[in-house]
Protein backbone atom coordinates (compact mmCIF):
# COMPACT_ATOMS: atom_id res chain seq x y z
CA UNK A 1 0.00 0.00 0.00
CA UNK A 2 1.27 3.45 -0.88
CA UNK A 3 1.98 5.83 1.92
CA UNK A 4 0.89 9.40 1.52
CA UNK A 5 3.94 11.61 1.09
CA UNK A 6 4.04 13.76 4.22
CA UNK A 7 5.37 17.31 4.14
CA UNK A 8 6.25 19.32 7.21
CA UNK A 9 4.22 22.43 7.97
CA UNK A 10 7.22 24.56 7.06
CA UNK A 11 7.49 22.87 3.65
CA UNK A 12 3.79 23.40 3.08
CA UNK A 13 4.06 27.08 3.96
CA UNK A 14 7.03 27.75 1.71
CA UNK A 15 5.54 25.71 -1.11
CA UNK A 16 2.28 27.61 -0.95
CA UNK A 17 3.99 31.00 -0.86
CA UNK A 18 7.67 30.88 -1.78
CA UNK A 19 9.62 33.89 -0.55
CA UNK A 20 11.99 35.99 -2.64
CA UNK A 21 11.17 34.54 -6.00
CA UNK A 22 13.01 35.93 -9.00
CA UNK A 23 16.51 37.09 -9.77
CA UNK A 24 18.43 40.35 -9.58
CA UNK A 25 19.51 42.05 -12.74
CA UNK A 26 23.21 41.47 -13.39
CA UNK A 27 25.32 44.11 -11.62
CA UNK A 28 28.63 44.35 -9.90
CA UNK A 29 27.17 43.71 -6.44
CA UNK A 30 25.01 40.82 -7.65
CA UNK A 31 26.19 37.20 -7.43
CA UNK A 32 24.47 34.44 -9.42
CA UNK A 33 24.79 30.68 -9.18
CA UNK A 34 22.92 27.87 -10.85
CA UNK A 35 22.84 24.13 -10.31
CA UNK A 36 20.92 21.02 -11.31
CA UNK A 37 19.02 20.20 -14.47
CA UNK A 38 15.38 19.48 -15.22
CA UNK A 39 16.16 15.86 -16.04
CA UNK A 40 17.78 15.52 -12.62
CA UNK A 41 14.52 16.63 -11.04
CA UNK A 42 15.83 19.91 -9.65
CA UNK A 43 17.21 23.10 -11.12
CA UNK A 44 17.87 26.12 -9.00
CA UNK A 45 19.15 29.65 -9.61
CA UNK A 46 20.19 31.78 -6.66
CA UNK A 47 21.10 35.45 -6.91
CA UNK A 48 22.38 37.56 -4.06
CA UNK A 49 23.00 41.27 -3.67
CA UNK A 50 26.02 42.08 -1.55
CA UNK A 51 26.31 45.18 0.60
CA UNK A 52 29.11 45.82 3.07
CA UNK A 53 30.44 42.27 2.69
CA UNK A 54 27.11 40.78 3.70
CA UNK A 55 24.23 39.33 1.72
CA UNK A 56 21.71 42.13 1.68
CA UNK A 57 19.07 40.18 -0.21
CA UNK A 58 18.58 36.87 -2.00
CA UNK A 59 16.30 35.76 -4.82
CA UNK A 60 15.67 32.26 -6.17
CA UNK A 61 14.11 30.39 -9.04
CA UNK A 62 13.50 26.67 -8.72
CA UNK A 63 12.15 23.71 -10.59
CA UNK A 64 11.69 20.75 -8.31
CA UNK A 65 9.67 18.77 -5.84
CA UNK A 66 7.89 20.46 -2.93
CA UNK A 67 10.88 19.91 -0.66
CA UNK A 68 13.18 21.53 -3.20
CA UNK A 69 10.89 24.48 -3.69
CA UNK A 70 10.53 24.97 0.05
CA UNK A 71 14.25 24.55 0.70
CA UNK A 72 15.21 27.14 -1.91
CA UNK A 73 12.64 29.58 -0.57
CA UNK A 74 13.65 28.94 3.04
CA UNK A 75 17.29 29.44 2.14
CA UNK A 76 16.69 32.91 0.77
CA UNK A 77 15.49 33.95 4.20
CA UNK A 78 18.07 31.94 6.11
CA UNK A 79 21.13 33.43 4.41
CA UNK A 80 20.15 37.09 4.45
CA UNK A 81 22.81 38.96 6.40
CA UNK A 82 25.40 36.20 5.97
CA UNK A 83 29.11 37.05 5.53
CA UNK A 84 31.26 35.12 3.10
CA UNK A 85 32.53 32.97 5.96
CA UNK A 86 29.04 32.20 7.12
CA UNK A 87 27.99 31.32 3.58
CA UNK A 88 31.04 29.03 3.27
CA UNK A 89 29.99 27.19 6.37
CA UNK A 90 26.43 26.48 5.27
CA UNK A 91 25.67 22.84 4.62
CA UNK A 92 22.57 21.09 3.24
CA UNK A 93 21.94 19.21 6.50
CA UNK A 94 20.67 22.37 8.08
CA UNK A 95 17.86 22.55 5.53
CA UNK A 96 17.15 18.85 5.95
CA UNK A 97 16.67 19.36 9.67
CA UNK A 98 14.74 22.59 9.49
CA UNK A 99 12.35 21.35 6.82
CA UNK A 100 12.21 17.72 7.90
CA UNK A 101 13.29 16.42 4.51
CA UNK A 102 13.25 12.63 4.14
CA UNK A 103 16.50 10.87 3.18
CA UNK A 104 15.37 10.00 -0.36
CA UNK A 105 15.24 13.75 -1.03
CA UNK A 106 18.66 14.66 0.39
CA UNK A 107 20.13 14.55 -3.10
CA UNK A 108 17.96 17.51 -4.01
CA UNK A 109 19.34 19.46 -1.06
CA UNK A 110 22.84 18.69 -2.25
CA UNK A 111 21.94 20.40 -5.52
CA UNK A 112 20.85 23.42 -3.52
CA UNK A 113 24.11 23.32 -1.59
CA UNK A 114 25.88 23.25 -4.96
CA UNK A 115 24.19 26.53 -5.80
CA UNK A 116 25.31 27.96 -2.46
CA UNK A 117 28.85 26.82 -3.21
CA UNK A 118 28.44 28.57 -6.54
CA UNK A 119 27.52 31.81 -4.80
CA UNK A 120 30.52 31.36 -2.51
CA UNK A 121 32.84 30.92 -5.50
CA UNK A 122 31.38 33.94 -7.25
CA UNK A 123 31.82 35.97 -4.09
CA UNK A 124 35.47 34.95 -3.70
CA UNK A 125 36.12 35.69 -7.38
CA UNK A 126 34.50 39.09 -6.98
CA UNK A 127 36.61 39.66 -3.85
CA UNK A 128 39.84 38.68 -5.59
CA UNK A 129 39.03 40.74 -8.68
CA UNK A 130 38.31 43.68 -6.36
CA UNK A 131 41.61 43.06 -4.63
CA UNK A 132 43.32 43.08 -8.03
CA UNK A 133 41.57 46.21 -9.16
CA UNK A 134 42.17 47.91 -5.81
Amino acid sequence: MTERREYSALVERHFAAPRNVGRFEPAFDVLVARSGRVDQGIEVVLSARIEAERIAALRHLVYGCPHSIAAASWLTERLVGATLDELAQWRWREAATALDVPPEKWGRLLAIEDAVRGLERAWRERASSRARTA
Binding site: R5, R34, V38, L61, G64, I69
Partner: protein
Protein backbone atom coordinates in the same frame (compact mmCIF):
# COMPACT_ATOMS: atom_id res chain seq x y z
CA UNK B 1 -12.33 13.59 8.31
CA UNK B 2 -13.28 17.21 7.82
CA UNK B 3 -10.95 18.36 5.06
CA UNK B 4 -13.03 19.68 2.16
CA UNK B 5 -13.19 17.01 -0.48
CA UNK B 6 -11.41 17.53 -3.78
CA UNK B 7 -13.13 17.27 -7.15
CA UNK B 8 -13.22 13.63 -8.14
CA UNK B 9 -11.57 13.16 -11.50
CA UNK B 10 -10.28 9.65 -10.94
CA UNK B 11 -13.06 7.56 -12.50
CA UNK B 12 -10.50 5.33 -14.19
CA UNK B 13 -9.18 4.27 -10.79
CA UNK B 14 -12.67 3.45 -9.59
CA UNK B 15 -16.13 4.90 -10.01
CA UNK B 16 -18.58 5.73 -7.28
CA UNK B 17 -21.45 3.26 -7.23
CA UNK B 18 -24.50 4.38 -9.18
CA UNK B 19 -27.29 4.98 -6.64
CA UNK B 20 -29.57 2.63 -8.57
CA UNK B 21 -26.95 -0.09 -8.26
CA UNK B 22 -26.45 0.70 -4.58
CA UNK B 23 -30.19 0.34 -3.93
CA UNK B 24 -30.32 -3.05 -5.66
CA UNK B 25 -27.40 -4.20 -3.55
CA UNK B 26 -28.93 -2.79 -0.40
CA UNK B 27 -32.08 -4.82 -1.05
CA UNK B 28 -29.89 -7.93 -1.08
CA UNK B 29 -28.18 -6.86 2.14
CA UNK B 30 -31.40 -6.15 3.97
CA UNK B 31 -33.97 -8.68 2.74
CA UNK B 32 -33.67 -11.91 4.71
CA UNK B 33 -35.19 -13.84 1.83
CA UNK B 34 -32.30 -12.96 -0.48
CA UNK B 35 -29.56 -13.95 1.91
CA UNK B 36 -29.38 -17.66 1.27
CA UNK B 37 -26.36 -19.30 -0.30
CA UNK B 38 -26.97 -19.39 -4.07
CA UNK B 39 -25.65 -22.95 -4.02
CA UNK B 40 -28.26 -24.06 -1.46
CA UNK B 41 -30.69 -25.24 -4.11
CA UNK B 42 -32.51 -27.38 -1.56
CA UNK B 43 -34.51 -24.50 -0.17
CA UNK B 44 -36.27 -21.33 -1.20
CA UNK B 45 -33.66 -18.92 0.24
CA UNK B 46 -30.97 -20.50 -1.88
CA UNK B 47 -33.17 -20.63 -4.97
CA UNK B 48 -34.15 -16.97 -4.70
CA UNK B 49 -30.53 -15.95 -4.35
CA UNK B 50 -29.67 -18.18 -7.28
CA UNK B 51 -32.37 -16.59 -9.41
CA UNK B 52 -30.84 -13.16 -8.81
CA UNK B 53 -27.40 -14.48 -9.64
CA UNK B 54 -28.65 -15.94 -12.92
CA UNK B 55 -30.51 -12.77 -13.81
CA UNK B 56 -27.28 -10.82 -13.32
CA UNK B 57 -25.39 -13.37 -15.40
CA UNK B 58 -27.82 -12.74 -18.25
CA UNK B 59 -27.37 -8.97 -17.85
CA UNK B 60 -23.60 -9.19 -18.05
CA UNK B 61 -23.76 -11.62 -20.96
CA UNK B 62 -26.10 -9.32 -22.85
CA UNK B 63 -23.78 -6.37 -22.32
CA UNK B 64 -20.98 -8.19 -24.18
CA UNK B 65 -23.22 -10.03 -26.65
CA UNK B 66 -22.28 -13.40 -25.16
CA UNK B 67 -24.27 -16.31 -23.79
CA UNK B 68 -24.96 -16.41 -20.04
CA UNK B 69 -23.30 -19.80 -19.59
CA UNK B 70 -20.04 -18.22 -20.77
CA UNK B 71 -19.88 -15.84 -17.79
CA UNK B 72 -17.77 -16.93 -14.82
CA UNK B 73 -17.99 -14.76 -11.71
CA UNK B 74 -14.71 -13.65 -10.18
CA UNK B 75 -13.53 -11.09 -7.61
CA UNK B 76 -12.57 -8.52 -10.27
CA UNK B 77 -10.57 -8.01 -13.42
CA UNK B 78 -7.28 -8.79 -11.69
CA UNK B 79 -8.55 -12.27 -10.96
CA UNK B 80 -10.20 -12.55 -14.38
CA UNK B 81 -6.93 -11.68 -16.11
CA UNK B 82 -5.03 -14.17 -14.01
CA UNK B 83 -7.61 -16.89 -14.56
CA UNK B 84 -7.53 -16.30 -18.30
CA UNK B 85 -3.75 -16.14 -18.68
CA UNK B 86 -2.54 -18.65 -16.10
CA UNK B 87 -5.59 -20.82 -16.73
CA UNK B 88 -5.17 -21.11 -20.48
CA UNK B 89 -1.38 -21.27 -20.49
CA UNK B 90 -1.17 -23.99 -17.84
CA UNK B 91 -4.02 -26.00 -19.35
CA UNK B 92 -2.60 -25.88 -22.87
CA UNK B 93 1.09 -25.91 -21.95
CA UNK B 94 1.68 -28.83 -24.29
CA UNK B 95 0.18 -26.93 -27.24
CA UNK B 96 2.83 -24.23 -27.19
CA UNK B 97 4.62 -21.95 -24.81
CA UNK B 98 4.51 -18.66 -26.66
CA UNK B 99 2.25 -15.76 -25.71
CA UNK B 100 1.86 -12.36 -27.35
CA UNK B 101 0.92 -9.27 -25.36
CA UNK B 102 2.01 -5.64 -25.11
CA UNK B 103 4.17 -3.42 -22.94
CA UNK B 104 1.26 -1.20 -21.95
CA UNK B 105 -1.01 -3.82 -20.42
CA UNK B 106 -2.27 -3.51 -16.87
CA UNK B 107 -0.08 -4.96 -14.11
CA UNK B 108 -2.63 -7.73 -13.62
CA UNK B 109 -1.67 -8.95 -17.09
CA UNK B 110 2.03 -8.12 -16.98
CA UNK B 111 2.62 -9.71 -13.59
CA UNK B 112 0.66 -12.84 -14.53
CA UNK B 113 2.81 -13.07 -17.67
CA UNK B 114 5.93 -12.65 -15.59
CA UNK B 115 4.79 -15.61 -13.49
CA UNK B 116 4.27 -17.63 -16.68
CA UNK B 117 7.76 -16.74 -17.86
CA UNK B 118 9.06 -18.20 -14.60
CA UNK B 119 7.09 -21.35 -15.46
CA UNK B 120 8.84 -21.67 -18.81
CA UNK B 121 6.59 -19.69 -21.12
CA UNK B 122 7.94 -17.15 -23.56
CA UNK B 123 6.19 -13.82 -23.96
CA UNK B 124 6.53 -11.28 -26.77
CA UNK B 125 5.67 -7.80 -25.48
CA UNK B 126 4.66 -5.62 -28.40
CA UNK B 127 5.65 -1.96 -28.19
CA UNK B 128 2.76 0.28 -29.22
CA UNK B 129 3.31 3.35 -31.36
CA UNK B 130 3.83 6.76 -29.81
CA UNK B 131 0.03 7.10 -29.84
CA UNK B 132 -0.34 3.99 -27.70
CA UNK B 133 -1.91 1.88 -30.45
CA UNK B 134 -0.74 -1.64 -31.25
CA UNK B 135 -1.10 -2.20 -34.97
CA UNK B 136 -2.81 -5.48 -35.92
CA UNK B 137 0.14 -6.22 -38.22
CA UNK B 138 2.43 -6.15 -35.21
CA UNK B 139 0.39 -9.01 -33.82
CA UNK B 140 0.45 -10.95 -37.10
CA UNK B 141 4.19 -10.61 -37.27
CA UNK B 142 4.69 -11.75 -33.70
CA UNK B 143 2.71 -14.97 -34.09
CA UNK B 144 4.72 -18.17 -34.12
CA UNK B 145 3.87 -21.81 -34.59
CA UNK B 146 3.93 -22.32 -30.87
CA UNK B 147 1.86 -19.23 -30.00
CA UNK B 148 -1.09 -20.37 -27.94
CA UNK B 149 -2.50 -17.09 -26.71
CA UNK B 150 -2.68 -13.39 -27.51
CA UNK B 151 -3.69 -11.02 -24.71
CA UNK B 152 -4.38 -7.35 -25.31
CA UNK B 153 -6.38 -4.77 -23.47
CA UNK B 154 -9.37 -3.08 -25.03
CA UNK B 155 -9.10 0.32 -23.38
CA UNK B 156 -5.87 1.44 -21.75
CA UNK B 157 -6.45 2.53 -18.16
CA UNK B 158 -3.81 5.26 -18.14
CA UNK B 159 -4.26 6.99 -21.46
CA UNK B 160 -7.72 5.84 -22.53
CA UNK B 161 -6.81 4.76 -26.05
CA UNK B 162 -8.88 1.99 -27.65
CA UNK B 163 -7.06 -0.91 -29.26
CA UNK B 164 -8.53 -2.41 -32.40
CA UNK B 165 -9.30 -5.71 -30.73
CA UNK B 166 -11.72 -6.72 -33.49
CA UNK B 167 -9.00 -6.71 -36.13
CA UNK B 168 -6.62 -8.53 -33.82
CA UNK B 169 -9.30 -11.03 -32.87
CA UNK B 170 -9.90 -11.90 -36.52
CA UNK B 171 -6.19 -12.50 -37.05
CA UNK B 172 -6.09 -14.84 -34.05
CA UNK B 173 -9.27 -16.68 -35.04
CA UNK B 174 -7.87 -17.32 -38.52
CA UNK B 175 -4.70 -18.74 -37.05
CA UNK B 176 -6.56 -20.77 -34.43
CA UNK B 177 -4.90 -18.92 -31.58
CA UNK B 178 -6.80 -18.04 -28.40
CA UNK B 179 -7.47 -14.35 -27.84
CA UNK B 180 -7.94 -12.75 -24.42
CA UNK B 181 -9.07 -9.17 -23.97
CA UNK B 182 -8.79 -7.17 -20.77
CA UNK B 183 -11.93 -5.06 -21.02
CA UNK B 184 -11.86 -3.73 -17.45
CA UNK B 185 -12.09 -0.15 -18.68
CA UNK B 186 -14.55 -0.63 -21.55
CA UNK B 187 -18.02 -1.22 -20.17
CA UNK B 188 -20.31 1.71 -20.86
CA UNK B 189 -17.56 3.58 -22.70
CA UNK B 190 -17.19 1.58 -25.87
CA UNK B 191 -19.23 -1.32 -27.20
CA UNK B 192 -18.06 -4.84 -26.42
CA UNK B 193 -19.12 -7.65 -28.72
CA UNK B 194 -17.35 -10.92 -28.09
CA UNK B 195 -18.79 -12.42 -31.25
CA UNK B 196 -17.89 -9.63 -33.64
CA UNK B 197 -14.50 -9.17 -32.00
CA UNK B 198 -13.66 -12.89 -32.15
CA UNK B 199 -12.79 -12.88 -28.47
CA UNK B 200 -12.31 -16.17 -26.62
CA UNK B 201 -11.80 -14.77 -23.13
CA UNK B 202 -12.72 -11.33 -21.84
CA UNK B 203 -12.08 -9.81 -18.42
CA UNK B 204 -14.61 -7.53 -16.78
CA UNK B 205 -14.87 -5.73 -13.47
CA UNK B 206 -17.81 -3.91 -11.92
CA UNK B 207 -16.09 -1.06 -10.12
CA UNK B 208 -14.98 0.83 -13.22
CA UNK B 209 -18.59 1.05 -14.39
CA UNK B 210 -20.49 2.25 -11.33
CA UNK B 211 -20.77 -1.21 -9.80
CA UNK B 212 -19.21 -2.52 -6.59
CA UNK B 213 -15.53 -3.26 -6.02
CA UNK B 214 -14.66 -6.89 -5.46
CA UNK B 215 -16.67 -8.53 -8.21
CA UNK B 216 -15.88 -9.19 -11.83
CA UNK B 217 -16.37 -11.76 -14.51
CA UNK B 218 -14.48 -13.71 -17.09
CA UNK B 219 -16.24 -14.45 -20.34
CA UNK B 220 -15.08 -17.85 -21.56
CA UNK B 221 -16.21 -19.06 -24.95
CA UNK B 222 -17.99 -22.41 -24.62
CA UNK B 223 -18.53 -23.43 -28.19
CA UNK B 224 -16.08 -24.88 -28.85
CA UNK B 225 -15.00 -24.78 -25.21
CA UNK B 226 -11.79 -23.08 -24.12
CA UNK B 227 -9.82 -25.31 -21.75
CA UNK B 228 -8.87 -23.57 -18.54
CA UNK B 229 -7.12 -24.65 -15.36
CA UNK B 230 -8.80 -23.00 -12.34
CA UNK B 231 -6.82 -20.84 -9.94
CA UNK B 232 -9.09 -21.67 -7.03
CA UNK B 233 -10.39 -25.17 -6.37
CA UNK B 234 -13.25 -26.28 -4.16
CA UNK B 235 -16.99 -26.46 -4.03
CA UNK B 236 -17.25 -26.61 -7.79
CA UNK B 237 -19.19 -23.38 -8.32
CA UNK B 238 -19.11 -21.81 -11.78
CA UNK B 239 -18.78 -25.20 -13.47
CA UNK B 240 -15.63 -25.84 -11.48
CA UNK B 241 -13.79 -22.88 -13.00
CA UNK B 242 -14.12 -20.71 -9.92
CA UNK B 243 -15.06 -22.23 -6.58
CA UNK B 244 -16.27 -20.18 -3.63
CA UNK B 245 -19.63 -18.99 -2.35
CA UNK B 246 -21.22 -16.58 -4.81
CA UNK B 247 -21.77 -13.10 -3.33
CA UNK B 248 -25.35 -12.38 -4.39
CA UNK B 249 -25.35 -8.65 -3.59
CA UNK B 250 -22.10 -8.10 -5.45
CA UNK B 251 -23.23 -10.03 -8.49
CA UNK B 252 -26.59 -8.27 -8.54
CA UNK B 253 -24.72 -4.97 -8.41
CA UNK B 254 -22.50 -5.94 -11.31
CA UNK B 255 -25.42 -7.17 -13.39
CA UNK B 256 -27.37 -3.97 -12.98
CA UNK B 257 -24.28 -1.81 -13.46
CA UNK B 258 -23.60 -3.50 -16.80
CA UNK B 259 -27.19 -3.20 -17.91
CA UNK B 260 -27.30 0.51 -17.09
CA UNK B 261 -23.87 1.09 -18.61
CA UNK B 262 -24.94 -0.37 -21.94
CA UNK B 263 -28.40 1.21 -21.93
CA UNK B 264 -27.09 4.68 -21.17
CA UNK B 265 -23.83 4.39 -23.03
CA UNK B 266 -24.58 6.73 -25.89
CA UNK B 267 -25.94 9.51 -23.72
CA UNK B 268 -23.14 9.10 -21.16
CA UNK B 269 -20.47 9.11 -23.82
CA UNK B 270 -21.80 12.22 -25.55
CA UNK B 271 -22.03 14.17 -22.32
CA UNK B 272 -18.67 13.09 -20.96
CA UNK B 273 -16.97 13.66 -24.31
CA UNK B 274 -18.15 17.25 -24.29
CA UNK B 275 -16.82 17.73 -20.77
CA UNK B 276 -13.49 16.23 -21.71
CA UNK B 277 -13.19 18.55 -24.73
CA UNK B 278 -13.97 21.48 -22.49
CA UNK B 279 -11.26 20.34 -20.09
CA UNK B 280 -8.70 19.86 -22.84
CA UNK B 281 -9.51 23.20 -24.43
CA UNK B 282 -9.06 24.86 -21.07
CA UNK B 283 -5.84 23.11 -20.18
CA UNK B 284 -4.22 23.44 -23.58
CA UNK B 285 -4.50 27.22 -23.34
CA UNK B 286 -1.62 26.93 -20.87
CA UNK B 287 0.72 25.99 -23.67
CA UNK B 288 3.62 23.50 -23.38
CA UNK B 289 1.20 20.67 -22.60
CA UNK B 290 0.90 17.40 -24.51
CA UNK B 291 -1.95 14.97 -24.79
CA UNK B 292 -0.81 11.39 -24.25
CA UNK B 293 -2.23 8.73 -26.54
CA UNK B 294 -4.04 8.80 -29.84
CA UNK B 295 -6.08 11.97 -30.33
CA UNK B 296 -9.32 10.32 -31.44
CA UNK B 297 -9.11 6.55 -30.94
CA UNK B 298 -9.90 6.88 -27.26
CA UNK B 299 -12.67 6.64 -24.72
CA UNK B 300 -14.51 9.73 -23.66
CA UNK B 301 -13.56 9.94 -20.03
CA UNK B 302 -9.77 9.88 -19.93
CA UNK B 303 -7.41 12.77 -20.58
CA UNK B 304 -3.75 12.16 -19.85
CA UNK B 305 -1.65 15.31 -20.14
CA UNK B 306 2.07 15.97 -19.78
CA UNK B 307 3.05 19.41 -18.48
CA UNK B 308 6.41 20.81 -19.52
CA UNK B 309 8.30 22.94 -17.06
CA UNK B 310 6.60 21.63 -13.94
CA UNK B 311 8.05 18.96 -11.74
CA UNK B 312 5.65 16.03 -11.22
CA UNK B 313 5.49 15.79 -7.46
CA UNK B 314 5.00 19.51 -7.06
CA UNK B 315 2.33 19.49 -9.72
CA UNK B 316 0.38 16.85 -7.80
CA UNK B 317 0.93 18.47 -4.45
CA UNK B 318 -0.21 21.81 -5.83
CA UNK B 319 -3.42 20.27 -7.13
CA UNK B 320 -4.82 18.91 -3.89
CA UNK B 321 -8.19 20.35 -4.87
CA UNK B 322 -8.35 17.70 -7.56
CA UNK B 323 -8.53 13.95 -7.03
CA UNK B 324 -6.58 12.92 -10.09
CA UNK B 325 -4.04 10.24 -10.59
CA UNK B 326 -0.63 9.92 -12.10
CA UNK B 327 -0.91 6.45 -13.49
CA UNK B 328 -2.59 3.36 -12.22
CA UNK B 329 -4.07 3.30 -8.74
CA UNK B 330 -2.41 0.05 -7.99
CA UNK B 331 1.11 1.12 -8.82
CA UNK B 332 2.72 0.89 -5.44
CA UNK B 333 5.32 3.65 -5.65
CA UNK B 334 3.29 6.63 -6.73
CA UNK B 335 6.31 8.67 -7.76
CA UNK B 336 7.72 6.16 -10.20
CA UNK B 337 7.15 7.40 -13.75
CA UNK B 338 4.42 5.49 -15.54
CA UNK B 339 5.69 2.53 -17.54
CA UNK B 340 2.89 3.17 -20.01
CA UNK B 341 4.02 6.71 -20.78
CA UNK B 342 7.63 5.50 -20.89
CA UNK B 343 6.63 2.88 -23.47
CA UNK B 344 5.11 5.68 -25.55
CA UNK B 345 8.47 7.37 -25.59
CA UNK B 346 8.02 10.05 -22.94
CA UNK B 347 11.11 10.86 -20.85
CA UNK B 348 11.05 9.88 -17.19
CA UNK B 349 10.79 13.51 -16.26
CA UNK B 350 7.88 14.26 -18.55
CA UNK B 351 6.12 11.01 -17.71
CA UNK B 352 6.28 12.09 -14.11
CA UNK B 353 4.91 15.55 -14.92
CA UNK B 354 1.73 14.00 -16.29
CA UNK B 355 -1.74 13.80 -14.89
CA UNK B 356 -4.61 11.49 -15.75
CA UNK B 357 -7.91 13.30 -15.53
CA UNK B 358 -10.70 10.78 -15.72
CA UNK B 359 -14.30 11.92 -15.91
CA UNK B 360 -17.50 10.02 -15.45
CA UNK B 361 -21.22 9.88 -15.07
CA UNK B 362 -21.39 12.33 -12.18
CA UNK B 363 -18.88 14.89 -13.42
CA UNK B 364 -20.35 18.37 -13.87
CA UNK B 365 -19.42 21.35 -15.99
CA UNK B 366 -18.79 23.33 -12.82
CA UNK B 367 -16.29 20.72 -11.71
CA UNK B 368 -14.51 20.87 -15.04
CA UNK B 369 -14.33 24.64 -14.90
CA UNK B 370 -12.98 24.52 -11.37
CA UNK B 371 -10.43 21.94 -12.47
CA UNK B 372 -9.31 24.10 -15.38
CA UNK B 373 -8.96 27.07 -13.04
CA UNK B 374 -6.91 25.10 -10.52
CA UNK B 375 -4.64 23.56 -13.12
CA UNK B 376 -4.09 26.89 -14.84
CA UNK B 377 -3.37 28.70 -11.60
CA UNK B 378 -0.96 26.13 -10.23
CA UNK B 379 0.90 25.31 -13.42
CA UNK B 380 1.41 29.01 -14.09
CA UNK B 381 2.52 29.57 -10.55
CA UNK B 382 5.04 26.73 -10.60
CA UNK B 383 6.34 27.71 -14.00
CA UNK B 384 6.74 31.27 -12.77
CA UNK B 385 9.07 30.27 -9.97
CA UNK B 386 11.13 27.97 -12.20
CA UNK B 387 14.31 29.13 -13.94
CA UNK B 388 13.17 30.51 -17.30
CA UNK B 389 15.80 28.75 -19.30
CA UNK B 390 14.70 25.29 -18.25
CA UNK B 391 14.83 23.47 -21.54
CA UNK B 392 11.52 22.04 -22.66
CA UNK B 393 11.89 18.31 -23.14
Amino acid sequence: MNAPLPIYLDYAATTPIDPRVAEAMIECLREPELQGNPSSMGHEYGRRARARVEQARAQVAAAVNGRPECIVWTSGATESNNLALLGVARFHADRGKHIVSSKTEHKAVLDALKQLESEGFFVTYLKPGADGIVAPEQVSEALRDDTQLVSLMHVNNEIGIIQDVGAIGRICRERGILFHVDAAQSMGKVGIDVQAMCVDLLSLTAHKSYGPKGVGALYVRRNPPVGLRPLIFGGGQELGLRSGTLPTHQIVGMGLACEIAEREREADVARICALRERLWTGISKLGRVELNGHRTQRVCGVLNVSFHGVEGESLKFALTDLAVSSGSACASASDAPSYVLRALGRSDQLAQSSLRFSLGRFTTEAEIDAAIAAVTREVERLRAIAPATSPAK
